[in-house]
């Protein structure tokens, strides 16, 4: 895939946010009143809200839910308008399919691999069902006051059963890789490289919150989103949501200043700040989110600052301070008052940089 350069890059990433400004109004000609009316009509009809919302799915369990976007156009849209989300099989922009199509001229068995995954996915689903049954048994046992030995016995049983299940699948030939590869290779040539895009765009919780709460982009309300992520709001304690809130507040803070904020995990930090976005320049700043009244072991500071310094980036410690009591925050959460909730935190920043005496003598 040829990388878009210069002007085309500007064109492609014209909008820094998925809400577009109304910048397509006709021009007003002073001596022509009709143009005024036409302008007013266009203005009245125009809206910033996109006509179709992006649909998200939740994958995994409740402890580590993953938020994914599967529609190809949606994926592209989120990426192009502010660089939201990460392709699970790419490093940032979801380009897996394009890469596959590009590569397929040389290697056709990628298709095979992808088909295997598809079959695996089905297998896994069946497997999942089996497990759910067993787990239900376990839960019943727990509810009925079963003891540890009984529980262990059940787990052993479960293990055995899972093994048998797998074995059965293998015997059915589905688990046998080689035969599938051969089979689908033939298929692949016949179908003329019709790829199924198996890549999803995954959103960080803070990104999804931003796209639901701050901007009306996702087809989910902040309330539903957050209860999917953190469970029913009636059971919430402050400890459950503190970390998320401080991270969201930080994310929102930088987003609202115009930064493109992305996960900084590869540099061991919370966020990376890009001035426009990854295609334009390298990230300039690494953000660590901290509680304003906490302090970590020095090893932590030295370790992250070395990694960040090694990448020639600037390390920013972003401290978040809660301005209201915990129970007030929990109350806001329960009553879905996210405006007041996020607005009850304040950020303060310092820059942390190693200093070398020998370089600063004159």
């Amino acid at each position: 895939m040829a990388k878009p350069k210069g002007k085309s890059l500007q064109q492609r990433y014209k909008y820094p946010l998925p809400i577009h400004p109304i910048d397509y109004l006709p021009s007003v000609i002073l001596h022509n009143p009709v143009s005024w009316v036409y302008w007013a009509y266009c203005f009245w009809k125009a809206t910033n809200i996109p006509s179709k919302r992006v649909h998200i799915e939740f994958e995994g369990g409740v402890n580590f839910p993953h938020i994914v976007v599967q529609d190809k156009d949606d994926m592209k849209y989120l990426w192009k308008n502010g660089f939201f989300g990460t392709g699970q099989l790419s490093r940032s922009e979801p380009t897996w399919l394009e890469r596959q199509e590009g590569a397929s001229k040389e290697r056709s068995n990628d298709l095979a691999l992808e088909k295997i995954t598809e079959r695996r996915r089905i297998q896994r689903l069946e497997f999942k069902k089996e497990r759910v049954k067993l787990e239900k048994q376990l839960l019943d046992l727990r509810r009925n006051g079963g003891n540890i030995e009984q529980e262990n016995a059940l787990l052993v049983q479960e293990r055995e059963m899972l093994r048998m299940f797998k074995q059965r699948q293998q015997e059915e030939g589905l688990g046998d890789n080689n035969s599938v590869v051969e089979e689908s290779m033939i298929e692949g040539t016949a179908v003329d490289h019709e790829y199924v895009d198996i890549e999803s765009l995954e959103l960080m919780s803070v990104e999804a919150t931003f796209l639901s709460f701050a901007l009306p982009i996702l087809d989910i309300s902040p309330k539903v989103l957050l209860s999917r992520l953190f469970g029913p709001s009636n059971d919430i304690t402050y400890g459950d949501i503190h970390k998320f809130i401080t991270h969201y507040v930080t994310y929102h803070h930088y987003r609202s200043l115009g930064w493109c904020v992305r996960s900084g995990i590869k540099f061991g930090c919370d966020y990376l700040l890009y001035k426009r976005g990854p295609p334009f320049q390298h990230a300039e700043f690494c953000i660590m989110v901290l509680d304003h009244d906490k302090s970590k072991d020095y090893t932590w500071y030295s370790s992250i600052s070395r990694v960040i310094g090694g990448a020639k980036k600037t390390c920013v410690l972003c401290y978040v301070e809660r301005l209201l009591p915990e129970d007030q925050i929990v109350e806001y959460w329960r009553t879905d008052n996210f405006i007041k909730l996020f607005g009850s935190y304040r950020v303060g920043e310092v820059i942390y940089k190693r200093w070398i005496p020998g370089k600063n003598r004159d």
């Binding site: 590869k266 061991g268 020095y298 090893t299 030295s302 370790s303 090694g310």
Partner: protein, 300 residues
Amino acid sequence: MVNKIRISVVVQGTDASDLVLTPLIFKLEDVERARKLGVCGILAGTLPTAAQQNMFLSVPLKLMAEEAIWLFLSGHAEVVHLRSPTSSLIGNLIKENLESLQAANESKLQESFRLQRQFKVEQHRLKLESLGRLPPGGELPHDPQIDSLIDSSLFVETANSSSILSKLSSKQQQDGCIDAQIINCMIANYSNWDNYLLYQSLRENGYVLSPGARFGGLYIAYPGDPLRYHSHITVQPAIDYYKEGIDLTLLTSGARLGTSVKKMWVIGGVKNYGTKQEELRKPKAPADVSFFSIEWAGFG
């Protein structure tokens, strides 16, 4: 046992939680012996001949608490602890022993002067000889001007280690029970037993350890004397073996950093509780320590 490495420690106050100042070694031969045992410490004093840089320094040697404790528990060192206020301790020692201290100092100084004079006269003689003003092997004529010149160029040395402290009576010296207390103070003030056990375990596996904060760790470890070998690992502070989750953010950045500088990122903890104190009494017993070494897999 004779001639143990002498570690000086100043203690403030009288109970176990008292503050102990960094353990120090002042005698060059002690620094050398500790180094041969794999305890390098950090030289922290100005090197008088190159006093305008920080790379090459001289005594005192500053020890990590772990190093001092290891040297002591393995029987290589004695800990001379001095109770604060030390100025009155020194003042009293001087008062009580003034004459003998001065006499010793004077004779040392004169002996040094005698040697220097002898050396300088010989130098001067050789110089004249080479200029042809003196026959080979000839006697130097007495010249008061030269003598005073030589006298004013005599060198007065400031010693590394104390002669005053040698006057400490055995009563003022420590006994074994106080040593144990000092050890506890050091741990309480500068480390913890889990960290010590990691140190001990690595030490007994032949590693030489240095302070590691600059490298994102508690220690860095070398396979031998750092003078000759690259360091191999960055050791993280001990975590609770059973309860504490490894900080995966730290692991990610630490291991990536480690890969770029060819160091393993090592994390460890102590498996069994309750035995630490007793184990310390028999330092040769292997600590029940579990380590994992982490590096980037090279992809992803």
